[in-house]
Symmetry: D2
Subunit: 355 residues, 4 copies
C-alpha cells in the first residue's frame, strides 16, 4: 500500500526528484546502539556516484549525505534515521521537448496516464537519482547484519559475459565496470564506448552474492526470501528480470541435477552444490544467497525514435542530456544495497517470530 516504502521490520521510505532541491530516505525500525556516522554511508554513495569515468553519465553530483535524525553520540537511537542528499548539478537546460512528447522506453506516457501530468525535469521521480537514497539506506542496513558479506558485480554487458574461469573478486574494484574478469573489462571498454559514440546504449546483467546468511531467514509462502529479493530488485530502475540460484537455467535441469545434495560437515550439514541460490521453501539454507538481475539498455539515447506528442500527433524524439550508456553498471551498488535492506529486514523478522 505504501508506494515509496520498502521492508517490514526494518523499513525505509525515500523521497525526492531528479531536479528538486534534495532527495532522501527515512530508515525506521533500526535497532538501537549501532555505531553510525556519515562516514559509514559515504563510501557506498561514492561507488554509485556518477561522473567517475567516461562510461557513465557526466552529471557531477557530490552526493554528500547528511544524517538529520536518529543518531545520538554516534549511535543509532532506535528512532527514525533521516538521510538527506542535496541535488547540486541540475543543468538549467530546456526540457521543452520532453515536456511535449513521450520518450519511448521512459515512464513519460505512463505517468501522464496515471497522474494526469508529470514532473518532466530529468524524469522527476522516475529518475535513477532515487537510487542514491536507497544506497544510503542500504549502508545502514549493513550495520544490522555484520555477519553477512554482500558483493555484486556486472556479469554481462550487451550480451558479452564474464568468463567464470577468469573470475577474480579482487578485480571488481579495479575497473570502471565492477567487472570480476580483467579480460572482459578490457573488451567492455570498447563495447560501451562504441555504444556511447553511436548514440545508443547497452543492457547488462548484474550478479549478487550474500555470504554468511544463517539458515532460517525468510518464511514460507507469501514472505519467501526469494519473493522479497525479487520484489526488491525489480524496484530498481531499468530492471526487467530476476533469478535466484540457477534461475531460468534450472528450468532446463532434471530433478537429480538440480537437487543440492547434502553430507555431514564439521559445522553441521554441508551442501555439495548451490543450484538453489541459498534458499529452500523460501527460507535461507546457510549457503550463499545468489541472484542475477537483468537491466535493460538505457532508454535515453541520441538515436531518434518514433513517438507522439501529448496532443497525440506523430513526431520523433532524441533524448539529449548526460546519460549512462549502460545504466546497469551503476546498478551494482544499488543491487548490493537492496540485498542488504532485504536481509536486515529478514533478520529482524526472524528474530521477532523465532526469538
Amino acid at each position: 500500500m505504501s508506494f515509496n516504502t520498502f521492508g517490514h521490520a526494518f523499513r525505509f521510505s525515500t523521497w525526492g526528484e531528479s531536479h528538486g532541491p534534495a532527495l532522501g530516505a527515512v530508515v525506521d525500525g533500526c535497532p538501537p546502539g549501532l555505531k553510525l556516522s556519515e562516514a559509514d554511508i559515504q563510501p557506498f554513495l561514492d561507488a554509485r556516484r556518477p561522473g567517475q569515468s567516461k562510461y557513465t553519465t557526466q552529471r557531477q553530483e557530490p552526493d554528500q549525505v547528511k544524517i538529520l535524525s536518529g543518531v545520538f553520540e554516534g549511535k543509532t537511537t532506535g528512532t527514525p534515521i533521516s538521510l538527506m542528499i542535496e541535488n547540486v548539478d541540475q543543468r538549467s537546460k530546456d526540457y521543452g521537448e520532453v515536456a511535449k512528447a513521450y520518450r519511448p522506453g521512459h515512464a513519460d506516457y505512463a505517468y501522464d496516464q496515471k497522474y494526469g501530468f508529470r514532473d518532466y525535469r530529468g524524469g522527476g521521480r522516475s529518475s535513477a537519482r532515487e537510487t542514491a537514497a536507497r544506497v544510503a539506506a542500504g549502508a545502514v542496513a549493513r550495520l544490522v547484519i555484520p555477519e553477512v558479506t554482500i558483493r555484486a558485480w556486472v556479469a554481462e554487458i550487451g550480451g558479452d559475459a564474464v568468463d567464470p574461469a577468469h573470475f577474480d573478486v579482487a578485480e571488481i574494484g579495479n575497473n570502471p565496470f565492477f567487472c570480476p574478469d580483467a579480460q572482459a573489462a578490457k573488451r567492455w571498454e570498447a563495447l560501451v564506448d562504441g555504444a556511447r559514440k553511436d548514440g545508443s546504449s547497452l543492457g547488462a546483467i548484474i550478479a549478487c552474492e550474500a555470504t554468511g546468511v544463517p539458515a532460517g531467514w525468510g518464511a514460507p509462502v507469501y514472505a519467501k526470501l526469494d519473493s522479497e529479493i525479487a520484489a526488491a530488485m525489480m524496484t530498481i530502475n531499468a530492471t526487467k528480470g530476476i533469478e535466484i540460484g540457477d534461475g531460468f537455467a534450472a528450468a532446463r535441469l532434471r530433478g537429480e541435477q538440480n537437487a543440492d545434495a547434502m553430507r555431514p560437515g564439521e559445522n553441521g550439514p554441508e551442501f555439495l552444490a548451490n543450484h538453489s541460490g541459498g534458499t529452500a521453501g523460501g527460507i535461507s539454507t546457510g549457503q550463499p544467497v545468489f541472484c542475477r538481475v537483468a537491466f535493460k539498455p538505457t532508454s535515453s539515447i541520441l538515436t531518434p525514435v518514433e513517438t507522439v506528442t501529448r496532443e497525440g500527433t506523430a513526431t520523433e524524439i532524441i533524448t539529449k542530456g548526460r546519460h549512462d550508456p549502460c545504466v546497469g553498471i551503476r546498478g551494482v551498488p544499488v543491487v548490493e544495497a537492496m540485498m542488504a535492506l532485504v536481509l536486515a529486514d529478514q533478520k529482524l523478522l526472524h528474530r521477532a517470530q523465532c526469538g
Copy 2:
C-alpha cells in the same frame, strides 16, 4: 510482515497444510455487490486439480470449494470472503524416512533450522497444495477486473520450447500440458513420460499475458507493477526466476531496439512493439502485461540423492509418493491466479489515489 497474506487493498491470506483437515483462503477488501458463487471458483480449481492425466500427480483431490462468509444473496458484501477446501486423499503412508532425513531440494532442512521442527507429512505448509487456496482467491480477483483477460501457458518443458510460429491459443486447452503448440505438446508427452519412468523430473517455463489492463496501474519506485508481479510469482512453489517483457533478453538489446516506439492510433497512442511487457516506470502502459516464470524440476524424485539425517549422519534418500514429474505444468492456473490477484489489487490502489 505478514507471512501468509498477499496484497494491499485487495488482500488474501491462506492457511492449511498438505495433510491437515482442510486448507483455505480469506479474501479481504473485495468490493461489494459482485456476483459470486462456488460455481465462479470451481472451474479454476478444476484446471489445477491433480490426477487428471498421467503427467501429473495421481493424488485424487476433488478440491471442492465452500464459501463460508462474505456473500449474501449471491453477491459479495464487502466483508471477508472465507474459502475452504477439504483435504480428502491423504494416503496413510509411512513418513518415517522423510521425518528422519532431509530431502535435497525440499524445504525440510530450512524449516528445521528456522522453526526447530516441522510437519513432515507431505511437506506440511511447504506443499504445493497451498496453491489451491490462491487459485480460489484468484477466481474472486477476476471478478474485480472484468476488463482484463488473463491467459497463461507452458512455454517450455525441460528445455524444449514452444515454436512461436505454431502458437495457437485454442490449443492450450486441448492437451494436458497447457501447451499452445500442438507439435510441442506431442513431443512433451514422450519427454514428460520418460522423465517419470526414469524416476526423474523436469523444469518448465510458464508465460502469462494479461490484456485489457488500462494505462496507469502500478506506481513508481517500491510499488512498481513489475515488482508486485515479480513478488507474486516468486511466492509460488518451485519458482526460481521471473522476467517482465523481454526480461533477460532485453539485457542483450541496444537502446533503440528495446524502446517501444509510439504512433497516433484511433484510441490514443499505439505502440509498435512490446519489449517492455506492458510497463514503464513501474506503471502499466495499456499494452498487454507479459511475464515469464521459471519453475525448477520437482524435487520429489525416485532417484536416490545423498543427504543427512536430522542427527547429522550421511544417508541416501528417495522420495516415494505421488508426485508431479513436472510441477510447472500445474503451475499454469496458479500463475494466472497470481496475475489476477496482483491486478485486482492494483486497480483498487490506483482508484484510491487517483480516483
Copy 3:
C-alpha cells in the same frame, strides 16, 4: 489497509457473519513450538458464550473451536493457525422488518450507505458474534506471553460502579457479571433484570489490567502502546471510549499529582503510584498496564424508536430477538483477548528491533 486483520508481527484476521455457516480466525506470525490444542482455547470461549444466565442473550451457541492448521504433534509450527467455530443456533425467524427499516444505534444505515446493501440476518458482519473469533485468537496470544497475567472485570453498569474498597479478585468468577464487588453484583441483578423487563438496555465500563509486562514494550510516536491498546479496544462492538491509567481523570490532576514518583527497589526502580497505567512515552514501564473501556447500551431493544425505511418513509421499529440487556458484560473476555493480542504482538515487535 486491511479491514479484518489486527496486529503486526503477531497478526490475526477474522471472518464470518452472525448467520453464516461458521466464523473463524487465522493467526499468523505465531512463534513455533508452543503447546496448543483446542483445550487451551475453549475455556475462553466458554467464558464469553451466550445463554449462561438470564442477564445475557438466550441464543445457545456451543462455540466449539476447531484448529484446522498450524499445529503438528500438539505444537504450533510457525505457520498460520486456522480456527473455526460453527454457528449452530440460527433461529429461522423473519428478518423482514430489519431488512426494510434502519435500527437506530445499529450499523444498518451506515452499511447500506457504504456497500449499497447489507446482510441483515442478525447484523451480518456487524454482529458481536465476530468477537468469538478474536477470543479464540486471544487464547493463542496468551501462550506467547506466559510472563503476563491479564484480568478484566466490569467496573460499572448503568452508572452503578464497583466500590474499590470491596474489590476482590476472587469474586470476579463468582457472579454472572464478572464483578469484583459482591455487593455491586447483588445490586446489578436487579438493575440488569429491570432493564431487560423494561425492554431497555444498559451500558457498562470494563477495566482491564495486565501485570508482568516488562519495561520496554511499545514504541514512541505512531506505535505507542497506548495507541495500540486504544485501537484494539475500539474495534470491539459497542465501545465508545478508552482510557489508559487515570485517563480522563488525569486531565483534572496537577503535574505533581500525576507524576508517578520513583524510588530504588530490590529489583530496580519502583514506582510510588501508577497514574500512567503502565506506559510512558508510549512504552511500558514495568508497572501494570491498566485501561478502562466504555460500552454503550445495547441498541437492540424492545422499546420502539423512530426511524426510516430503506425507501425513506417514516416508521417506528422495535428490535425483537434474543439480545443482551447489557452487552458490556460479555465484553470482559473480549477485552482480555484484545489485551493479550496487543501484548503478544508488542513482545515480538520489541524482540525484532531490540533483540
Copy 4:
C-alpha cells in the same frame, strides 16, 4: 509494524528530535493534481507555534516549513511530499541532570529500558516538537478532503469546563486557549498562570468535530473509524483517553436514550440526536464526527519529585526549561491535524473498495 508511520492509503512518516538540526514528515499516497505550496501549510504551524503567549512555552521556533519534493508547478505530483522544519531555538543548556536521573511522568526510564540509552536533549524523539511534523502533514491531508470542515477546541482545563450555553465558534480564535467560551477563557487566564507560577501544570480535554463527512467512510471490525480515530489521537504526546460521541457518558445511558432516532429529511434520512458521534458499526453516518481527547498535565514541572538515577540511587528532580504549563492547549492544532489525516486516509480507502 512501522513505528513512525501512520495511515494506510494516505500515509505519513515523521522523523526528527527536539534538538537535532531539523524534523520533518514524508507524505505518501497523496492524490495528484492538488494545489499545494508552503502557504497552505504555514498557518497551521503558526497556530501550533510556541512562544505566542505567556500560557505556552517560551521556546521561540519560527517553524518555517519547506517542501522538498512531490510538488511540481504548484501541484502535487502523486509522489512523496517531503516536508522539513528546521530547529532553531535549541538552548545550549546543561542537560546533566536529565541525563543522570529519570523525570517521573516522562519517557526517560522507559526509553532507557527499551533502547539501552536515550537522547536526553529535550526529550529527543519523545519531545512534543514531533507534532509540528504532523501538523504540516495534516495541512496536506485537508486538501484531500475539501468537503470536510474540522474544528477543535479546549473544552476543559484543570477540571474547569466550558459552559455549552456559552459556546461560540467565533470565540475560539479570540483567546490564547482555543476556548469557545469567553467567560471560561477569562477564568483560565488566572488558572493557567497560577499553575505556572506554582511550578505546576494542568491537564486539559480537547473536543474535535468534523462536519461534512459523508456516510460510508470507515469499515467494520478492525478498521472501524472509531478505532482509527482513537489510535490517531492516542499517538499524540500526553494523551491518556479518547471518546467518540458521548463516550464514557454513553455507558450511563439507557438504550432508548442512546439510540439516535431517524426521520425522513430533505436530503435523505436525518438524525434526531448524535450520541454516537457520527459513527455506527465503525462507519460514518453522515452526522458530524465528534471526539474528545484527554491530555494529562505537563510532566515537566518545577516542583521537585522523588526519583532515581540511572545508577539506581534515590534523588529528587525538578525539570527546568521552557515548558507549557498546560500542554493540552497547543494540542488543538495537533488534534485537528490527526483528524484530517485519518479522514483523508479513510476517503481514499473507501474509494479503493467501493469506487
